[in-house]
């Protein structure tokens, strides 16, 4: 983990926090995108979330759980900003504005399907598989019971498969 960087950042070392941004930005961005469904809104969410995280770092008691703590901030920030907005689905061209085309295009069918299932199902898949969080951490980020996380993962995989098969 990155306890030393976090310790320095919590004492006001902005360079250390910059390194934290380098490490966790992608995970935060993918999760924000899974909630907002818009490549630009996800950037706004990330910007505000990292600023909030920097200001709250002193209150983080378990640095080894920074990632799930950060995702919780992203989740809350997304809800605060986009409570009243309707979910949108980004087009492939929009995704290609932010992701490397070599990494995205090889599995574009998977990503397009992922963006077309319901946001609550997409979020569990992103947190569990793309962001590599444990089931218990996913439950904490989304504030739902662990068994609900498990059932949502099962259903989300099924829905993603159905969308992929139908294309």
């Amino acid at each position: 983990m990155h306890e030393e960087l976090l310790a320095r950042a919590s004492k006001g070392d902005k360079a250390a926090f910059g390194e934290i941004v380098d490490i966790y930005y992608k995970d935060a961005y993918i999760f924000a995108l899974s909630i907002t469904g818009n490549v630009h809104d996800a950037m706004d969410v990330c910007q505000e979330s990292f600023v909030k995280a920097y200001k709250s770092l002193k209150r983080l008691k378990e640095p080894d759980r920074f990632k799930s703590w950060m995702m919780k901030i992203v989740s809350n920030t997304s809800k605060d900003i986009f409570r009243s907005r309707k979910q949108s689905v980004p087009e492939t061209e929009e995704l290609l504005e932010v992701f490397e085309d070599t990494s995205l295009l090889e599995r574009i069918d998977l990503y397009e399907a992922l963006m077309r299932i319901k946001a609550e199902y997409r979020q569990v898949l992103v947190l569990r598989f793309l962001n590599d969080l444990k089931i218990s951490d996913v439950a904490k980020v989304l504030r739902i019971p662990q068994n609900t996380v498990k059932s949502r993962i099962r259903y989300a995989l099924e829905q993603t498969r159905i969308v992929m098969e139908g294309r």
């Binding site: 910007q47 002193k58 008691k61 992701f99 490397e100 995205l104 998977l110 598989f129 995989l157």
Partner: protein
């Protein structure tokens, strides 16, 4: 058929898992957004400095006021020596007006302070819940005080049992599903299960999501040290068969 679909879902999960290392953000996107974040941090810092400007201006004003008062002191003496000089008389009258305005402002300020503290007291009261004196903060409309106290007592007693190590007993306050977490993973429910020095510092009144779901937020400290920051437990309570049961507890900063 079902087995085939299940295998496909497992393959899909594996595919997603392998994507975590492959999916890459464009470097310029990361660079641009990182720059925005770091600029925002700098702006916040600068804006803190800007806050000092009015303080500095006020200090400067105070110094000038003191100087002016000193200057006015001399006409004061002059007023005793030669009170009939028109200029001296006018300065004395202005001096008196300024004093009156200052006194009126001070009185107003005191009234505002009193009103503020009255409002704070209205929002925050010390309440006895399950033999504990806990500061209650009203964060949502309090529709049913009896139910409010009942749910607050439920969460406080639940936490007490957790810190006593009586997980089985604590589980009785929970839904069957959440009871399993309480018994098997108490570390996912409270911060330091081994601690015995728990102090309740604040509780919110009950927020009603709908007729069968309620939320209560409890702040506590289990470090045994006053200097350590509190942490928060977010409770989700459901109504099941006419009984209130805890369905989820989230540890929060």
């Amino acid at each position: 058929m079902k087995e085939i679909k299940r295998n496909k879902d497992i393959e899909l999960a594996k595919a997603l898992e392998s994507e975590k290392g492959r999916l890459k953000l464009k470097e310029e996107v990361l660079y641009m957004n990182k720059k925005k974040i770091m600029n925002e941090l700098e702006t916040k810092k600068r804006s803190r400095h800007i806050k000092f400007v009015p303080v500095f201006a006020a200090s400067l004003l105070l110094v000038f006021s003191m100087l002016a008062t000193s200057v006015l002191a001399f006409p004061g003496i002059a007023a005793k020596v030669a009170p009939n000089i028109p200029l001296v008389r006018e300065i004395s009258e202005r001096d008196q007006e300024i004093e009156d305005i200052r006194a009126a402002e001070q009185t107003k300020q005191l009234e505002i302070e009193e009103l503020k503290s009255e409002i704070e007291e209205l929002k925050m009261t010390i309440k006895k819940i399950s033999d504990e004196q806990i500061k209650e903060v009203e964060t949502s409309p309090n529709e049913d005080e009896e139910q409010n106290l009942q749910l607050q007592t439920l969460v406080v007693e639940f936490v007490k049992e957790m810190y006593r190590g009586n997980y089985e007993k604590a589980a009785r306050y929970c839904t069957d599903e959440f009871a399993q977490t309480v018994i098997k993973s108490p570390q996912d429910v409270i911060m330091r299960p081994s601690s015995t020095a728990v102090v309740f510092t604040q509780i919110t009144n009950v927020a009603k999501v709908d007729d069968s779901m309620f939320l209560v937020f409890l702040r506590l400290n289990d470090s045994g040290e006053e200097m350590e920051a509190d942490y928060q437990l977010d409770f989700e309570i459901v109504m099941k068969d006419d009984a209130f049961l805890i369905s989820f507890v989230g540890i929060d900063a």
